[in-house]
């Protein structure tokens, strides 16, 4: 049976101090609205409404939560609180800001700043030719400022991907959707069901969650950069662990981007977490390094690939 989609709150609906304008997005776990606060300022409001547990019919306001689903619904609410807790502590230009949190209609809502722009995912789908070396270095270096702030609060994002990186119209990135974020040091936090996106989640996400660390978010950053170049997510880490068929960025785009950038992407995508950059700072340092423009070489394909591997080995040896 097809999953029945929830109906959004109608335009003009007065929700607490906010007036709903329209629905921005609909996910399996929540609905995001564009709304205006009492002062007329635009905000984004995220409504906790898991599809499978709470149903809102057309024209209805209160969702129907059957008694058998109530426990699970409340349990999922814990995740939503986690996200709120994580974001509330962060105040940084590259991290979405939470403005308010309230309860209504038998569920909970998180009010966030509204930004004009689109997700990096939408951007790269429509502007493939805009993904230049400078664009990548610029966007990711700034986005990493936000991630650094997240890590400095002992939080991990754990669901980094192009559709969770929002681009303002001036091309500055903002980290959004902290639905998977976890406080890494709070051991008393109940183990919530892992959330991740195949292709962007690190190998630790799947198997050894006790190994999750900044390097896990860094894997996702590498996968996001790879996806910007490829236009699609890279091979998922769990299948890579069985048979690694991911073509290194170094081989796939050689000559089109600088070796140093491509190497940095491959560095982030190492399956062994110890071989990746261990901190956001280390990665930022690599991304801001001055490099010479890529040069198209005239060698034959095999020589080229071979030479590439040799130079990589030398560099790894030096690291």
């Amino acid at each position: 049976m097809a999953q029945q989609a929830n109906h959004a709150l109608p335009a003009g609906f007065q929700l607490d101090d906010y007036r709903i304008e329209r629905q921005l997005s609909l996910g399996g776990f929540s609905i995001v609205y564009l709304a205006r606060d009492g002062a007329g300022k635009s905000v984004a409001i995220k409504e906790y409404l898991p599809n499978s547990l709470a149903l809102r019919g057309e024209g209805a306001i209160q969702p129907v939560i059957s008694s058998e689903h109530l426990a699970a619904f409340r349990y999922g609410m814990k995740c939503f609180f986690e996200e709120g807790r994580a974001l509330a502590r962060l105040s940084h230009p590259n991290v979405i800001r939470v403005l308010n949190f309230f309860r209504a209609n038998d569920t909970v809502y998180m009010v966030m700043e509204y930004e004009h722009g689109r997700t990096l995912q939408e951007f790269i789908q429509k502007n493939r030719q805009a993904v230049t070396e400078n664009f990548l270095r610029n966007v990711f270096t700034k986005m990493l400022n936000g991630l650094r702030e997240v890590h400095s609060h002992k939080l991990l994002h754990l669901d980094l991907k192009p559709s969770n990186i929002y681009m303002r119209n001036d091309y500055t990135p903002v980290l959004i959707d902290f639905g998977a974020a976890r406080q890494t040091l709070a051991s008393d936090t109940p183990m919530l069901k892992p959330m991740y996106t195949p292709g962007f989640a690190s190998p630790e996400h799947y198997a050894q969650r006790e190994l999750l660390g900044p390097w896990s978010d860094i894997y996702s950053v590498g996968a996001s950069m790879y996806a910007c170049l490829a236009g699609a997510a890279p091979q998922a880490a769990d299948t890579r662990m069985e048979k690694d068929q991911l073509m290194p960025a170094m081989v796939r785009w050689e000559g089109q981007y600088s070796d140093q950038l491509l190497e940095t992407i491959d560095w982030c995508l190492c399956l062994n977490h110890l071989y990746r950059p261990q901190s956001v700072f280390a990665l930022q340092k690599a991304l801001t390094e001055q490099v010479s423009a890529p040069q198209q070489r005239e060698e034959r394909w095999l020589d080229k690939t071979f030479g590439k591997f040799l130079s990589r080995f030398k560099k790894i040896g030096n690291r």
């Binding site: 409340r74 349990y75 814990k78 105040s91 403005l99 308010n100 949190f101 109940p190």
Partner: protein, 303 residues
């Protein structure tokens, strides 16, 4: 840790006492040492002093409050003591370097670790009997092991004082290590020189130290030994500790009520019906509190 401890050393009928002994303890670890400086060698007491001091200083430096690796600690500090004695002897241009036996025991987490070289002994006494004692690094012990002589012959053997391993000698000392030995409440660990064990039957040692009051028992035992040593009684030294705790597999799960105030009662009674630990459901109250907490955090961090 809970224990009683007492140490005493007497010169016997000798002009000077070349035995040295010491104990020291932190919140989590206890160290006991006995060293018998070699008679017939120059500066025997200096060698014994260096050995005891080296171990004590290492303990003071490394017990924080536990020793990270007890066997490594014993091995390292005894070997350092050996080299310190050699250094002393070369600094003073001695023809023959001074030597000493050494036995040391470290107790932490109710586990005893010991090491020895020479013929000073460690006894582990349990239930009024000798549960274990170290094997001397001596000629007579080797002869006994080979079945050439028996214990009675060994006790009067002319070469019974000859040992083949010690600290400060020209050869690298042979240091023998114990196993990790869990202690039980009431166990007595006694370290002594041959002036004590050489003249006392071991049953006597075990019976005497069975008494809970070591402060009375040890001097009485030494008086006995001195008497039995006769007109040429050797230096006699003993340090003995009665351990009052028992080794348990997971000491951290044990409850100590020592620090509870007098009017406190701790109760653990599961809720009727479901075990609350499995309750994943948020109560109304918890939801309200979570929202309050998030709002407060937003306030706190908004500029």
């Amino acid at each position: 840790m809970k224990f009683t401890i007492y140490q005493e050393s007497r010169p016997g009928k000798r002009p000077n006492n070349e035995d040295r002994l010491a104990y020291c303890y932190s919140r989590e670890a206890l160290l006991m040492i006995v060293a018998d400086g070699m008679g017939g060698h120059y500066y025997g007491e200096v060698a014994a002093q260096i050995a005891v001091q080296t171990l004590i200083e290492t303990f003071q430096r490394e017990a924080k409050p536990e020793i990270a690796d007890p066997f490594l600690f014993l091995q390292k500090s005894m070997s350092n003591a050996h080299h310190a004695i050699l250094d002393f002897s070369s600094d003073h241009r001695l023809n023959d370097s001074p030597r000493t036996t050494c036995v040391a025991c470290l107790i932490q987490d109710n586990i005893a670790y010991w090491a020895h070289t020479g013929d000073s002994r460690l006894y582990l006494l349990r239930d009024g009997r000798v549960h274990f004692h170290t094997r001397d690094h001596s000629r007579v012990q080797l002869l006994m092991d080979q079945g050439v002589i028996n214990a009675a012959q060994a006790a009067v053997h002319p070469e019974r004082n000859k040992i083949y391993s010690c600290l400060g000698g020209p050869q690298q000392p042979e240091i023998e290590f114990s196993r990790k030995t869990p202690l039980e409440a009431g166990d007595v660990v006694a370290l002594c020189t041959d002036g004590v064990w050489g003249v006392l039957p071991e049953e006597m040692l075990a019976t005497a130290l069975k008494s809970a009051n070591l402060i009375q028992a040890v001097p009485m035992l030494l008086a006995q030994a001195e008497l039995r040593g006769g007109p040429h009684a050797d230096n006699l030294s003993i340090v003995a500790a009665r351990w009052e705790d028992s080794y348990v597999e997971h000491p951290s799960t044990a409850i100590s009520t020592q620090t509870m105030s007098r009017d406190t009662i701790t109760t653990k009674l599961d809720e009727f019906g479901r075990n609350p630990a499995y309750k994943s459901e948020l109560s109304e109250d918890e939801i309200e509190r979570a929202i309050e907490e998030i709002r407060a955090t937003i306030q706190k961090y908004s500029k």
